[in-house]
Amino acid sequence: MLATLLRRLFYALPIMAGVALVCFSLVHIAPGDPLVSILPPDASQDLQAQLRELYGLDRSLVEQFLSWVWRALQGDLGTSIASGRPVAAEVIKAVGNTLRLAAVATLIGFALGCLFGFVAGYFRDSWVDRAASVMSVLGVSVPHYWLGMVLVIVFSAQLMWLPATGAGPGGSGDWAWNWEHVQFMILPAITMSVIPMGIVARTVRALVAETLEQEFVAGLRARGLTHLGVFRHVVKNAAPTALAVMGLQLGYLLGGSILIETVFSWPGTGLLLNSAIFQRDLPLLQGTILVLALFFVVLNLIVDVVQTLLDPRIARA
């Protein structure tokens, strides 16, 4: 087991190195000047050269990359050019905010997706199925940033029931799970949940429909089980796959959504990336992408290990 674990870890190392290289290369290939946020357009050549030297941008890309990786290995992702604050602290705070939002959106998406999926699958080809299917297709098809804007117009601008933007009355720093704060999360979480809701609903509907075709269901009915009793068995059969799909969706949501977080000014990784891109803040951009990418690498590693623990055949393979 230990050998398998070490092997998986060993496989992950080149992936992490590759991720770091791709992050660094991509942000340097992109057009634009990394000093644009601190250097006005009329800055003299001397001043530009002076700042390039002070920020180490006059060194070769290889030197810059190695220096960045060396510092990143020690937990230092550098300093944001635009804000002057440490990148690591900025990314950690943003990841926390996105995690919070993604967790709630996942819960909403999973609950509604399962509800629509089970109902549609169980009452296949009825009007209930069609209504639930329409909901799930809408969930997958509607552009979520558009939905976000509509929700803001209706519930914030018109009805004035919920705040339009932000992550709490005093910012996200003093977050608490009370109404004063949670009301800020409702609209972005609903907006974020529509895609997973649609995907889960469609998956579950197909699973339920497939399960209902199986012989054991006819057997259950023959034994005189009620609709509810049969439904319970169907749910048990469909649940593992639905959970797996939702797990994947959670992974995507954890990456943050640039559009949703921008529409709602939610201070997560999406908004941070947006800001870093528009300000050409290379250290912040590199740091955020690196952390998110490594997050997925680690998640995959954990999944591999858990699968190996659950099914020893994988370790032997």
């Binding site: 000047d33 357009p41 800055a43 920020y55 635009a82 804000s83 529409v263």
Partner: protein, 559 residues
């Protein structure tokens, strides 16, 4: 049992709690009233992050507007008290200034006495020298590279500062430069004593440069200036809270509003929704589509002429069709600016040049920028163009960007307008930051991608920003923003005359001559001037929107 007995009994039994409840309800009713006494102004900025708070803000002039002017003072200030005249320079932390008549690279500034920083330390000549060194002296412990870019370029000739006495300081420039007092409105005075405390608190084992960096980061989170508002809370990327500085030195600008909360909100629709839902009281640059709704809901939209020029800057590189003055002037006569004004719902002003008539630098140019397609077609015909043989021009534009107004629909409007005067306009649409970078590289650089005009809006607050950088042969790319390589000996002389005129009136006369010649030579197609729209709740009163990029929050009140 009589029915009255239990009632009396009940009353007697519950009298004390009832009284307590009545008191509590009364207190609860009074508390919000007392709380409501605090006047809190909540502002949604267009910036994606809170502009830097350490004294020299980033994010362009929006930074100066929100984390510069409210928290800090400079030696000179822009007068923001009038809406009906151009904003002019007035004394700030300096009471007066004069150039040395023998050596015109030296200026003496007399400082305002009895001014204190928010931390209680005194403002004096040492503080001025310290603030100049923070961006110009690499040897200084407190030198901060991150503040150099936004500062040094706005005062390109300033070289050093020397204390003469506690309230007198000498500033030295690299060459005689009458623009210095105007430029100094961008150098904000941070508290040296407060910074030193942050430096002393940094881990002692680290090298001084590293400690200085930590000190500036700490200073940004807990800043100290001399401005009418002092910093009370800072949540990076989310909100900045300021409280009134009741001990402010200018009695007219002691704030009446108790607290100001600033929130970065880069998305226009999000800002509009935040205003409509009552989450904020003031938004910058509301979404144009939402203007009628905003007004119908009782909010007030403020706008005014702003020194914010939205032009096409033309190329004078070899082969450019704009080398022919008739073509340049014809384009200026063929833009239907009144139509564009209507198209933008009134949110622009019609330009007559870089500065408007009545401005001290106007200068009565002989060429009148107006809408006269007949005259334009005649000029184009003289230049050899016709409907069958239009002139082909290519303009580099962005799809969005800070200060760019509505670049796509506006440029398409101009494209249609110019078509009637035999212009065949093509666009090269690129991302905003890339366009901005290309602007420094010039029309002869490969990044121009064959374009012979570029659409980058710019601030025209001071002479260098408004005119010099676009018309001097010394500012050809990559030195500065003379993207089109426009300039000759005549313009260099006009600029030298203006720079060397140290009396305000003489300097303005020289600048007026320069402006008149710029309009006549038309190195730009002047299309629109921005009017800096902002929407506010009707409860915000005493709002003066000056003809400036800035606005004074200190003099505002709230119901």
């Amino acid at each position: 049992m009589s029915p009255t007995v239990p009632i009396r009994f009940a009353y007697a039994r519950w009298r004390a709690p009832a009284a307590a409840l009545a008191f509590a309800v009364g207190a609860a009713l009074c508390l919000p009233a007392a709380h409501a006494q605090e006047k809190v102004l909540r502002i949604a900025m267009t910036a994606a992050d809170i502009p830097r708070t350490l004294g020299q803000p980033d994010q362009g002039f929006e930074g100066n507007r929100f984390t510069g002017i409210p928290m800090y003072d400079a030696l000179t200030h822009w007068d923001l008290a009038r809406a009906d005249a151009p904003s002019v320079l007035v004394p700030g932390l300096a009471l007066s200034w004069a150039v040395d008549q023998k050596d015109r690279t030296k200026w003496v500034f007399k400082l305002r006495p009895d001014v204190k920083f928010h931390d209680g330390s005194p403002f004096n000549a040492d503080a001025v020298v310290w603030n100049v060194r923070k961006v110009l002296d690499k040897e200084a412990v407190h030198f901060d590279a991150s503040q150099v870019g936004v500062t040094a370029s706005r005062m390109p000739t300033l070289r050093s500062a020397r204390k003469i006495d506690d309230l007198t300081v000498e500033l030295v420039t690299s060459e005689p430069d009458s623009f210095l007092p105007l430029n100094l409105a961008n150098l904000f005075m941070a508290s040296p004593a407060h910074w030193q405390k942050k430096f002393d608190a940094a881990p002692a084992g680290q090298p001084p440069a590293e400690r200085a960096k930590l000190a500036w980061t700490a200073f940004a989170a807990d800043a100290s200036g001399t401005g009418p508002f002092r910093m009370t809370r800072f949540v990076p990327r989310e909100r900045l809270e300021l409280a009134a500085n009741k001990a402010y030195w200018d009695a007219k600008r002691v704030p009446k509003i108790d607290r100001v909360v600033m929130v970065p909100m880069p998305e226009a629709n999000a800002r509009t929704a935040a205003l409509l839902s009552g989450q904020v009281d003031w938004i910058e640059a509301p979404s144009p589509d939402a203007m009628p709704t905003i007004r119908n809901r009782g909010f007030v939209v403020y706008f005014n002429q702003q020194p914010h020029v939205w032009p096409w800057q033309l190329s004078f590189a070899e082969g450019s069709p704009w080398l022919d003055k008739r073509v340049r002037q014809a384009a200026n006569l063929c833009v239907d600016r009144a139509g564009l004004l209507k198209f933008l719902g009134g949110m622009m002003s019609v330009p007559k040049g870089t500065v408007p008539p009545g401005h001290p630098w106007w200068g009565n140019p002989k060429f009148d920028i107006r809408y006269d397609p007949e005259a334009a077609r005649k000029m184009m015909a003289d230049a050899g163009f016709s409907a069958a043989k239009p002139v082909k021009v290519k303009v580099q534009i962005s799809a969005s960007g800070s200060g760019q107004m509505q670049p796509l629909p506006m440029n398409e409007f101009v494209q249609q307008s110019l078509k009637q005067c035999f212009f065949d306009v093509q666009f090269d649409v690129i991302e905003w930051n890339t366009l901005f970078t290309n602007w420094r590289r010039g029309a002869k650089d490969a990044t121009a991608n064959g374009a012979n005009a570029i659409n980058v809006s710019y601030a025209a607050m001071d002479p260098f920003f408004a005119m010099v950088r676009f018309t001097s042969t010394k500012t050809f790319p990559p030195v500065s923003n003379n993207w089109g390589h426009f300039g000759n000996d005549e313009f260099d002389k006009l600029i030298a005359d203006a720079r060397g005129s140290f009396d305000d009136k003489t300097r303005d006369t020289a600048l007026a001559k320069l402006h008149a010649r710029i309009v006549e030579e038309a190195p730009f197609v002047w299309i629109a001037h921005d009017v800096g729209p902002r929407a506010m709740s009707a409860k915000v009163k005493n709002v003066v929107q000056p003809r400036s990029w800035f606005i004074d929050i200190a003099t505002m009140t709230m119901d």
